[in-house]
């Protein structure tokens, strides 16, 4: 495990999910987590926080996950940050469509808080 804690930005409009995910990554993995409650806030926060990865909810009001991702891509300061989409949609076709956006992965809700950090690390090749 890296001695420097990983920095993760969680963007989700659901406060409970933000709290559970944050607690999972902070408590289990010891990562540093910042939270954003909307896409717009997440875009701002990503630029300032410069996380190593972003957990981005798909369905959000105003600016949804794909729109937020596109916004992040447009900004050179955030374009290279890997984004993992979190979706509660179960359709394979939907997940396949999201995967084509260029994100690092599409994770399913509900996730296992005990293994979430391992999932992220595996996907991003963090040893």
């Amino acid at each position: 495990m890296n001695s420097v804690p990983r920095r993760i930005l969680i963007i989700d409009d659901e406060e409970d999910i933000r709290a559970v995910a944050a607690m999972s990554l902070e408590s289990i993995a010891g990562w540093r987590v910042e939270l954003a409650c909307s896409g717009a806030q997440g875009v701002v926060q990503a630029e300032s926080f410069q996380p190593e990865a972003i957990l981005l909810d798909v369905m959000m009001p105003d600016m949804d996950g794909p729109a937020t991702f596109r916004e992040l891509q447009r900004n050179a300061a955030t374009a290279k940050i890997p984004v993992l989409l979190l979706t509660a949609k179960s359709q394979k076709s939907e997940r396949a469509r999201l995967a084509t956006l260029g994100v690092a992965a599409v994770l399913e809700k509900p996730f296992d808080p005990l293994t979430l950090h391992r999932q992220i690390a595996d996907i991003l090749g963090w040893s």
Binding site: S24, I28, Q91, K109, F111, P113, L114
Partner: protein, 836 residues
């Protein structure tokens, strides 16, 4: 001859004139001596007896010229005249002497005559009338006998002929079927043959006592008979005048009367009467005439009602019946309904007709109903007798057979006395009933019924044809209603696929009238741009002679495109392809519904999973102890909450999976799937769970590839393996076997668990069905896993089933075909074809 000559010298025999008379006489004359010797025979005797005189004269051959026994009989008769006894066994001489002696005793005036037969030389005999007289000399002493015989052959023949003629005439008269009589100028019977008794039931004595022969007739025709008699009496011969004579026993005799006057010089004035009963003959004539008339009426009248009325009129007129009705059978209602009627114009039968027009007759009721129920003619000679008296206070629910029949009552009011009804058949079934009435009390007349049945045959055929035509029209009308009402477009196509018929829905969907659609190729109507290519499934379907179904997009005339589902059905006439029917329906609404459903499933899934994510996450974190340790009870409760939140997640996932799979477009997503890889992956996926449960997993794979959805097939194998692990005891083995077959592959998942009761082997594939109700709680299953498996396997054209192992546990087998049966262009969901 000496005697004859001798005698002649002393008597007239010597007279030449006398001799010439004797010799030239036509009668046979023989002179016989007292000893029986023939003294002389004249030429007539020679001719009649066939002898020359030289053969008989001078010989005692008198008895030889008589028929056997005749000589003795004649001698006996002669002896009897003088009272001498006849002594048997006398010799010829003695018999001759006795005869001469007897003749001698007779006074000269008595000449015995006798009828006898003479015998010719050839032995044949002939009748004669003979006379014997004594030949005496001048002293009066008897010198012999003279026999004179007259040949009676011609006379007897004449008498016999006269006798026979008389017998023939007697026989003819006595046995004649025609009534023959001789009537006096006053009309009294002088002679009547037995045929009168046969027709009128009166003996000859009774007839002879009548004042006038017209009294034998019914009062209806006496006047006519009397007038005819007077005509004959005054010299006008009456030739076969027709009389209709009703008898007391209810018959109507048809008679032909001939009368002629007889006046001869030696006979008093009399009238010959010849009366023939021509009833049967007339009936036959009537029947033929009616049959002909009925056939003509049926062929001339396109309307069955008009024809029926004319047939009724023909029948009634021919038989002098007064009223006729045709009742038709209403099969749907099971009763008779009025069809048409005819009544004698002078009888005012309007009320009978009106009454019947509104009537409906149940089987067994009234005359017609009875004939219908019994299937044969019914005849009531006296309508008044069968009609019970009306009971003013009778209850309305009393049985019908105790109630007066209103139709019969109406007939009685119109003066009808008898009635009968005859079923009208077409083939073996009764289609109508003919009913007739008469003012006369007519008894059952089989001849008349025969004639009705003869006429009823063409009528029945006509009614049956009308009924059949009605049925055809009704069927056609219903088909038209159905075709007009149905929302699907239906087009009839000829063998080349061009439109021959289109229902209104087809017109609406295609945006053109039938006139504009007829003759145009069906494919070009649906795909007008023709850029669909030669491989267009619709084009191929329309060119085939097989049942095809599919979905396509058609272009409406307004330029909009429309998804349609179509069904193509070829028509074979005598096994020859004669055309087809294409039905098609707008499925844009179904598409919209599918989209709405997809959206709902997605939204519902999201909305359910979001709170579950928080719950599951929070509980997971708490129970992991990462946030701090808690006491055992709290930890236990947390585990319960966590387990159930996970169960809820599985349930939501399974429900959404099932919905998605069942309504998915399975075949479109199919691609080659190596099954061994699917099995390997599934085993790897459950390995951790198996390890924790102490279950050993064994799998044996072969290379086999099917067309399908790899993820869905992985889900099937994962579900089956997870179930096998879940229900196996620790230390057991779960095996996966693959067995390739000719047209597919079977994968078996074999466990050593508690097994499945035989009655549950099929049920477990239902939704929310588990072997044990507590399994859902204890094993954490949703009860949808096997339902999902069956849906997926069936969508792949395969089968899934469970078996009980011989010793322990169960085996789940999945058969997947290498190639699915669905046609390339068949977009219909596989699940729908297999009735999932």
């Amino acid at each position: 001859m000496a005697f004859w000559k001798g005698a002649g010298t002393e008597s007239k025999s010597g007279d030449p004139l006398f001799r010439e008379i004797v010799e030239s006489a036509g009668t046979m004359v023989l002179a016989i001596a007292p000893d029986g010797t023939i003294l002389h025979m004249n030429p007539a005797a020679e001719r009649l007896l066939g002898y020359n005189a030289s053969e008989l004269v001078g010989r005692k051959r008198t008895e030889e010229i008589l028929a056997p026994e005749e000589a003795q009989r004649i001698i006996g008769e002669v002896l009897h005249l003088v009272g001498s006894p006849v002594r048997p066994n006398l010799s010829i001489d003695e018999r001759a002497a006795a005869t001469v002696q007897a003749m001698d005793m007779l006074p000269p005036s008595q000449v015995p005559s006798f009828e006898t037969h003479c015998r010719r030389k050839d032995g044949s005999t002939f009748p004669v009338t003979g006379h014997i007289s004594a030949l005496r000399d001048s002293s009066g002493a008897i010198r012999g006998l003279v026999a004179v015989a007259l040949d009676q052959t011609a006379t007897l023949r004449q008498q016999q002929a006269t006798r026979e003629s008389q017998e023939r005439y007697r026989d003819l008269f006595e046995n004649s079927n025609e009534m023959i009589a001789t009537l006096s100028p006053s009309g009294k019977f002088l002679y009547a043959n037995p045929a009168w008794k046969q027709s009128f039931g009166l003996e000859l004595d009774a007839l002879l006592k009548l004042d006038s022969f017209e009294q034998v007739f019914n009062s209806d025709c006496r006047e006519d008979v009397a007038a005819l008699f007077q005509e004959a009496l005054h010299g006008t011969t009456v030739e076969r005048a027709i009389l209709r004579n009703p008898t007391e026993d209810g018959q109507v005799l048809e008679l032909e009367l001939s009368l002629s006057r007889r006046r001869k010089a030696d006979s008093p004035l009399a009238v010959r009467c010849l009366l023939s009963n021509v009833t049967q003959q007339k009936l036959r004539e009537h029947r033929l005439a009616l049959q002909l008339a009925a056939s003509q009426i049926v062929s001339e009248n396109s309307s069955a009602d008009a024809a029926a009325e004319r047939i009724l009129e023909a029948l009634c007129t021919a038989h002098r019946w007064d009223f006729g009705v045709l009742w038709e059978i209403d099969e749907a209602e099971g009763r008779l309904v009025f069809s048409s009627a005819w009544g004698t114009p002078s009888l005012h039968t309007d009320s009978m007709m009106r009454q019947r027009m509104g009537a409906q007759v149940e089987a067994g009721n009234a005359l017609a109903g009875n004939a219908w129920r019994k299937g044969r003619a019914v005849w009531i000679r006296n309508l008044a007798e069968v009609q019970p008296k009306s009971q003013p206070n009778s209850r309305p629910n009393s049985q019908s057979d105790t109630q007066p029949d209103p139709l019969i009552e109406g007939a009685l009011r119109c003066g009808m006395a008898s009635g009968w009804a005859v079923p009208v058949r077409a083939g073996n079934s009764i289609v109508a009933v003919l009913e007739f009435y008469s003012r006369l009390r007519l008894r059952e007349d089989s001849g008349a019924l025969d004639s009705v049945e003869t006429v009823a045959a063409p009528l029945g055929q006509m009614l049956a044809r009308r009924r059949e035509r009605g049925r055809t029209e009704e069927l056609s009308r219903r088909q038209e209603i159905l075709l007009n009402a149905v929302a699907d477009g239906i087009c009839g196509l000829d063998r080349s696929g061009s439109v021959t018929f289109a229902n209104p829905a087809a017109e609406r969907l295609l945006g053109a009238s039938v006139a504009n659609l007829e003759g145009r190729p069906m494919h070009d109507l649906l795909h007008p741009c023709e850029d669909c290519g030669l491989e267009c499934p619709l084009r191929m379907a329309l060119q085939s002679a097989e049942n095809r179904t599919g979905e396509t997009t058609m272009l409406h005339v307004d330029g909009t495109s429309l998804p349609i589902e179509y069904g193509f059905t070829p028509i074979f006439d005598h096994e020859r392809f004669s055309g087809s029917v294409l039905s098609f329906r707008d499925i844009s609404q179904r598409y919209a519904l599918d989209r709405m459903k997809d959206e709902f499933v997605a939204t519902a899934g999201h909305e359910l999973r979001t709170p579950l994510t928080s719950i599951r996450g929070a509980l997971g974190l708490l129970s992991s102890g990462a946030l701090g340790q808690m006491d055992e009870k709290a930890a236990s409760l947390l585990r319960i909450a966590l387990n159930n939140s996970e169960r809820l997640i599985r349930l939501v996932n399974d429900i959404l999976d099932l919905e998605r799979i069942q309504h998915g477009r399975g075949p479109e997503a199919f691609e080659p799937v190596p099954l061994a890889r699917v099995v390997d992956e599934a085993v790897r996926g459950v390995q951790t769970v198996a390890d924790s449960a102490g279950i050993q997993l064994i799998h044996d794979t072969v290379q086999a590839q099917v067309a399908g959805d790899a993820d869905q097939l992985l889900q099937v194998m994962t579900n089956l393996l997870a179930n096998a692990i879940k229900f196996s005891p620790s230390g057991a083995t779960v095996s996966v076997m693959m067995r390739p077959e000719e047209d597919g592959v079977t994968i078996s998942v074999i466990d050593q668990g508690r097994g499945i009761p035989a009655e549950m082997l099929e049920n477990i594939f239902g939704r929310f069905t588990q072997v044990d109700a507590s399994d859902a709680r204890q094993k954490g299953g949703s009860g949808l896993g096997l339902a999902i498996c069956r849906t997926i396997v069936t969508q792949h054209g395969g089968r899934i089933w469970a078996e009980r192992n011989p010793v322990r546990g169960s085996t789940f087998r999945v058969y997947l075909p290498f190639r699915q049966e669905s046609a390339a262009g068949d977009a219909e969901p596989v699940a729908a074809r297999h009735n999932i």
